[in-house]
């Protein structure tokens, strides 16, 4: 098909108001884009500077394993035993950290499961036994670790279950974790030693330096800290929990990521927020809505909303006042083109 024929074919398409436009044959007026841009830049700089001077920006100190175990040693110990016996949030998470949890899915669709483990974490070894094996000059600690490792799985489970029950009533007195007596074998020494290690700050280093000197991957310590209740308690106090519109907020009274409101909104819907597959459901909804937004120009009905709502008449109110004040239909389709009042002959625009 020749180019002329192709053009003729296109020209024959029926006109649709929400897709097509008529040529503009009305007036042109001076519009200094460069000046407008510079003024906008100056206004933005002044506005941003004013906001920065008045309100600053938040920078709350991060939680470390040391600060967590110092502030709430019992919570740390309870989390540590959950890491050791494989019942913590991270231990039972599944992909991409391990294979111990159920991946989220929508029907048969489960990309989390398909992509598998990419950041392997064995909570018992990575958070408890591994770091304790680096402790020097404490033979009782190494002996406890060796005894635990050498025990059968059933024996390990019996010890950790007994300790979990006991630690619920634990206290922290005079720098020592005091756990009611129980049949938890070497686990008492293990958790007590790990708590001391955490409170000294050594565990922070052990979790980070396990790979290389210049570490920038905080996955292990972050997930460990998040498994406890200490971090969450601080977040709730700062109105950052999931049912408080979660991560779109920021510490203090700062606006945070307000543009995530629609994403966060779905978590407030009980049917979604309480679902075991909430995260993938919310993502699926947002992917669908975003696709609709991007493809609005192609979707009949959706692309007509602007015309139906008539907000455009507010935006172009001067234009409509001028055109309709002249009796209508004279500006865009009938009048000859003008520039700065100069009357020109009509022109035709090719597409």
């Amino acid at each position: 098909m020749s180019a002329d024929k192709a053009k003729t074919h296109k020209l024959a398409r029926p006109f649709k108001q929400d897709r097509d436009i008529a040529d503009w044959h009305g007036r042109y007026t001076p519009y200094d884009l460069a000046k407008e841009g510079l003024i906008a830049l100056v206004v933005v700089v002044l506005l941003v500077t004013g906001l920065a001077v008045l309100f600053g920006s938040p920078d709350d100190t991060p939680v470390t394993v040391k600060s967590w175990s110092t502030a709430n040693a019992v919570d740390f110990a309870a989390t540590a035993i959950a890491e050791l016996d494989g019942t913590s949030g991270t231990a039972t998470y599944g992909a991409p950290y391990n294979t111990n949890g159920t991946a989220m899915s929508i029907g048969p669709i489960s990309p989390q499961k398909w992509l598998g483990v990419h950041h392997p974490i064995n909570t018992a070894n990575d958070y408890v036994l591994g770091p304790l094996s680096t402790v020097a000059n404490q033979p009782e600690v190494q002996a406890a670790v060796a005894e635990y490792k050498a025990a059968s799985v059933d024996q390990q489970a019996a010890w950790t279950a007994a300790y979990e029950k006991a630690v619920a009533d634990a206290t922290f007195v005079n720098g020592n974790l005091v756990v009611p007596a129980g049949a938890y074998g070497p686990v008492g020494v293990i958790i007590s030693s790990l708590t001391s290690m955490a409170r000294s700050g050594a565990l922070d280093g052990a979790l980070l330096s396990s790979r290389q000197f210049y570490g920038t991957d905080y996955t292990k310590p972050l997930l460990f800290v998040a498994d406890g209740t200490f971090l969450e308690g601080l977040a709730v106090n700062q109105h950052l929990a999931g049912d408080q519109w979660g991560m779109m907020n920021e510490t203090g009274s700062y606006p945070g990521q307000a543009w995530l409101w629609l994403y966060t909104l779905w978590y407030q819907v009980p049917a979604i927020g309480n679902s075991d597959n909430a995260d993938i459901q919310v993502f699926a909804i947002m992917i669908g809505l975003t696709t609709l937004l991007a493809l609005v120009p192609f979707i009949p009905g959706l692309r007509s909303i602007p015309r139906w709502t008539r907000v455009y008449r507010l935006i172009w109110r001067n234009h409509y006042r001028e055109v309709e004040g002249q009796g209508g239909g004279t500006s865009t389709s009938g009048s000859p083109p003008q520039v700065m009042g100069e009357v020109r002959e009509p022109v035709t625009v090719s597409g």
Partner: protein, 246 residues
Amino acid sequence: MTITDPKISSNGQSDLSKSADLPEDADQWTAKIRHVAVEALPPQRLLPDRQPAYVASWIYVFGVTTVAALGVVIATGLVLSIMGPNWWHVSSTGLFVNSLHMWSVEVFFFAMVIHLWGKFFMAAWRGRRRATWITGVISFLVSVGAAFTGYLSQQNFDSQWISTQAKDGINSTGAGAIFNVTNFGQMIMWHIVLLPLVVVALVGIHVLMVRLRGVVPPFAAKGETPGADMAGADSDGATSRAEVLA
């Protein structure tokens, strides 16, 4: 001693300036690219000093405000990059620059969202402007990602909490296998290199498309017949000033 630049002729004019007058090799790729570029965006269309009379509303300010705010975001981000990620935690000057960076992001999104909804209610995709609309939407999405990785790279309580909460959503999509929100090193590289490059490229393409097609005209007024003077269903309706003056 007088030193004479051999490239400067006796009349003081650079020989290089004469290259525009030399015959061109039309078969060259360079020449072809130049022809296509100049034909698509002649100087008067690229930087017009006239706009159709309907371009008269405060809503038009928010597009250029978005670009201006993006400029401030990049400028303040460059300062933070030069000084390194720890600087603003230990320096009052650094904290102020971080505040400028944060608030410019807030202004950027505020202006962009108003711009987006303004364009929605103008049905600004009409007249072969669908790609302009789509690049705008994608720019918004990539900007959300750029801001999100910024929040993850703060190295403070906020980034700890946001990363440990966001990981569940990202992991549920399978993306967590590659995009690890708890990996500070990875997130800061996405924040200061990859995503800004994409945002700037997309915004650049978006602005060029606006210049290429012009500002979308209004819907037909009362008494007008929609499409009565239509040059074709594939027309962008953007009668350039050059064409008007022709």
